[in-house]
């Protein structure tokens, strides 16, 4: 079978299985968040924490839950890294430096999973499983909880109540993330991913050389890394490492896992607002953008522009033989557009224009299909913007899902879409102006600038992938990128929850002949258009200086 046919089957199988799974999974997730019953394990958790899972929260209370839980998480993860040498199973690793520990704590709590360290020589067993892997679960659950709160804002009327944060968090972990992760982790082990708490194991090769084989509870972390769109690799090479991603099938599985919740949540949304068609209009917009990205990057990587790739006869630099160009391209687009940020090939060595597409995927705001939860609420904000633009065109007060999009709602949506572009552009510009960007570059010229732009884009949008030639482990970048990750995660959540509260208080307005039908293909087209125009206007100048300059040179 030729590579093109194989790639077509690979992506077809992916879309096919996602289509099959999104319905039961989306419906199940809706049932989880609408259920009035508590499992025994959950009751035990609520009792030991002293939380009342049935107490309804208004948006400030819900937000307080998110922020306090996340703040405590940052602090705990920071301390764990600082004392890891004193804990058992340390593998002899030193404590992480303060700036890097802050960066890593911010990174994993904000679901970014940017890594300025090398897992195999930095993080102990305890830090990995009780620190990093825990945040893989809970940061994903926090994202989904906030998305669910926004959906309740649309679904409910004449109340300010958005549900209970503790219940949403615990249910998401217990009923959704853990079951999926156990299954995925066992499949990964069956395919060769490792799962042990051993020491670094030294063997002597047939040529008489010594080689160190890394240990680790890899499969259990790999599963939630993908399912929770986290992306922080157990090892520096991330999903390119054969112990994380042993063969062509696990590669397919990992792409599937990182897409499955984001592409199923619109169904959950549709269920909860009482019209699955509304969910399909949203998922269609996500799918169109994702697929366009897949086509562009796959085509570019096979065409392999760039002197070195032309000379080599293909774009295999920074790619694994078992994955090749096609599957690596699909992984790259899926990971950047879901806010996952794991990599099975290094983006820095992708062609200039491919790198531009990957950057753009993040700059869209991680909404196609975006991270677990964050993708859905990001896309719903864009839907509000699209409705607003359509309202301006016909001179009607915009409405969405029976709720008026008034001045307060628009202000909150506008604040939301200003946060990450401000962080990206100011962060990258500041790094360049202070000379901190230049000193961290591996590559030269336009591509060097792309490395800096990519770093601040990835951090602010909570993606976590990198043009990894960028030397991120400096005090300046650890601190600044850490701040970008925290602000890029939690400021938008403030606006989303405030918006949810405001929507939930409204009384519903009836559908009339003049209502924009937001479940129709026309709206999907309008939504895609609005996304591209807003992102394009914001980021085109920066893209022109980096990937476009390199790609068109």
């Amino acid at each position: 079978m030729g590579p093109v046919l194989a790639d077509v089957l690979f992506v077809t199988a992916l879309i096919g299985v996602l289509t099959l799974v999104h319905r039961p999974l989306g419906d199940y997730m809706a049932a989880v968040f609408q259920s009035t019953k508590h499992l025994r394990a959950e009751r035990w958790i609520y009792r030991s924490v002293g939380a009342d899972p049935d107490a309804e929260m208004r948006w400030p209370a819900y937000l307080r839950g998110v922020l306090f839980f996340s703040a405590v998480s940052v602090l705990f993860l920071y301390l764990l890294q600082r004392v890891q040498d004193k804990l058992p199973l340390s593998l002899g690793f030193k404590p992480i430096s303060p700036d890097q520990a802050f960066n890593t704590a911010a990174s994993f709590v904000s679901n970014t999973n940017w890594q300025s360290y090398s897992g195999e020589v930095a993080m102990s067993h305890v830090t990995q499983t009780m620190g990093l892997a825990v945040q893989n679960f809970v940061s994903a659950a926090v994202g989904i909880a906030v998305a669910v709160a926004l959906v309740r804002g649309f679904a409910r009327s004449r109340t300010g109540e958005l549900g209970n944060f503790w219940a949403d968090l615990v249910r998401c972990v217990i009923r959704i993330l853990i079951p999926l992760s156990v299954v995925a982790a066992v499949v990964l082990i069956a395919c060769g991913a490792i799962q042990n708490f051993g020491d670094i194991h030294h063997i002597t090769t047939l040529t008489g050389q010594r080689q160190a084989i890394s240990p680790g509870a890899v499969a259990s972390q790999e599963a939630i890394k993908d399912i929770g769109t986290n992306g922080g690799g157990y090892f520096n090479a991330n999903s390119a490492h054969p112990f994380e991603n042993p063969n062509g099938f696990t590669n397919w599985l990992e792409i599937f896992l990182l897409l499955v919740i984001p592409f199923s949540l619109p169904r959950t949304f549709g269920k909860m607002v009482g019209s699955v068609k509304q969910g399909y209009a949203i998922v269609a917009a996500m799918g169109i953008i994702w697929f366009a990205g897949v086509l562009a990057v796959t085509w570019l990587e096979y065409a392999h522009p760039g002197t070195a790739a032309q000379l080599a006869g293909g774009a295999m630099e920074g790619k694994e033989q078992r994955f090749g160009e096609g599957n690596s391209s699909l992984f790259a687009v899926s990971t950047t557009m879901t806010s996952t940020g794991s990599v099975d090939a290094f983006h820095d060595s992708f062609s200039g224009l491919s790198g531009g597409v990957l950057l753009l995927g993040m700059m869209l705001g991680e909404i196609a299909p975006g991270g677990t939860g964050s993708g859905l609420y990001g896309m719903l904000i864009m839907a509000i913007i699209a409705v607003f633009i359509a309202g301006l065109m016909v001179g009607r007060t915009p409405e969405y899902l029976g709720k008026k999009i008034g001045a307060r709602e628009m202000k909150l949506a506008a604040c939301y879409i200003l946060v990450t572009p401000s962080l990206v552009l100011i962060g990258a510009a500041l790094a360049m102006a202070l000379g901190k960007g230049q000193s961290s570059m591996t590559n030269v010229g336009a591509h060097g600038f792309s490395e800096v732009l990519y770093a601040y884009t990835s951090a602010s949008n909570n993606n976590g992938s990198a043009f990894a030639g960028f030397g991120a482990n400096t005090e300046y970048h650890n601190t600044m990128l850490g701040l970008c990750m925290l602000l890029g995660r939690f400021l938008p959540m403030v606006f989303v929850l405030a918006l949810a509260g405001s929507l939930a208080e409204q009384k519903p307005i009836p559908v009339t002949a003049g209502t924009l039908r937001t479940e129709k293909p026309l709206f999907t087209g309008l939504l895609v258009g609005a996304i591209l125009i807003i992102t394009g206007l914001t980021f085109f100048p920066a893209l022109a200086l980096g990937p476009l300059a390199e790609g068109l040179a």
């Binding site: 809970v138 090479a237 790619k319 694994e320 290094f346 590559n443």
Partner: protein, 204 residues
């Protein structure tokens, strides 16, 4: 003022307890459960797919190795050679060199690799495949393309005093197609191929 301070403390305490409980569930129970299943059902794989030769551990079939002459940076003509590695196949330093296709440094690396591989194997440069001159992502890629294995057959056969046809058959037997026919790329696992080669040489 006093009231909000109490609230702050109460929320912090509640959040801390929640984190603690979820750490027990997702950070202790979950990984131990998965480890238990993995170590029971897939012990060999869960521990790194270690392969033994003559009763001695010779590496992991998933982790690529250097096949240079010991203590040098020269490839040993007796063995099939892997792809270029950014860390000389050190699993404690995974990751690629991160050079872009437009970078003159990478152009030079590729050009040099092409010359070296062509000369080492006695084939024209036009026959050197892309994986032979580009560094992998992990720096410990266990595989090469069937084509790269193919151009090494003549050299390996000569260095070991084996008929080329026999070595070529060995490569064919150790070539894996795409998983389920369409996932990933065809490949040859270098360690497994070289272990089989060692067996062939011993029987000679």
């Amino acid at each position: 003022m006093n009231n909000s301070f109490v609230n702050f403390g109460r929320m912090t305490w509640a959040a801390s307890r929640m984190l603690l409980v979820l750490t027990v569930v997702t950070g202790i129970v979950y990984p131990l459960l998965v480890t238990g299943i993995g170590q029971t059902a897939f012990r060999h794989k869960a521990n790194g797919s270690i392969v033994e030769v003559d009763g001695k551990e010779a590496g992991s079939s998933l982790i690529g190795q250097s096949w240079n002459i010991k203590g040098t940076d020269k490839p040993d003509p007796k063995w099939f050679q892997p792809r270029p590695s950014n860390s000389d196949y050190d699993p404690l330093a995974t990751g690629s060199n991160q050079l872009s296709a437009s970078n003159p440094k990478l152009v030079k690396l590729v050009r040099d690799a092409k010359e070296r591989v062509a000369e080492f194997n006695g084939v024209p440069q036009s026959e050197v495949p892309k994986d032979a001159v580009t560094g992998s992502a992990s720096a410990i890629d266990p595989d090469i393309s069937p084509k790269y294995a193919d151009i090494q057959v003549g050299r390996v056969a000569k260095a070991n005093g084996l008929p080329a046809a026999q070595v070529r058959k060995l490569v064919k037997d150790h070539t894996d197609g795409r998983v389920i026919g369409f996932m990933g790329e065809p490949r040859v696992n270098v360690l497994e191929l070289n272990i089989a080669l060692k067996g062939l040489v011993a029987k000679r």
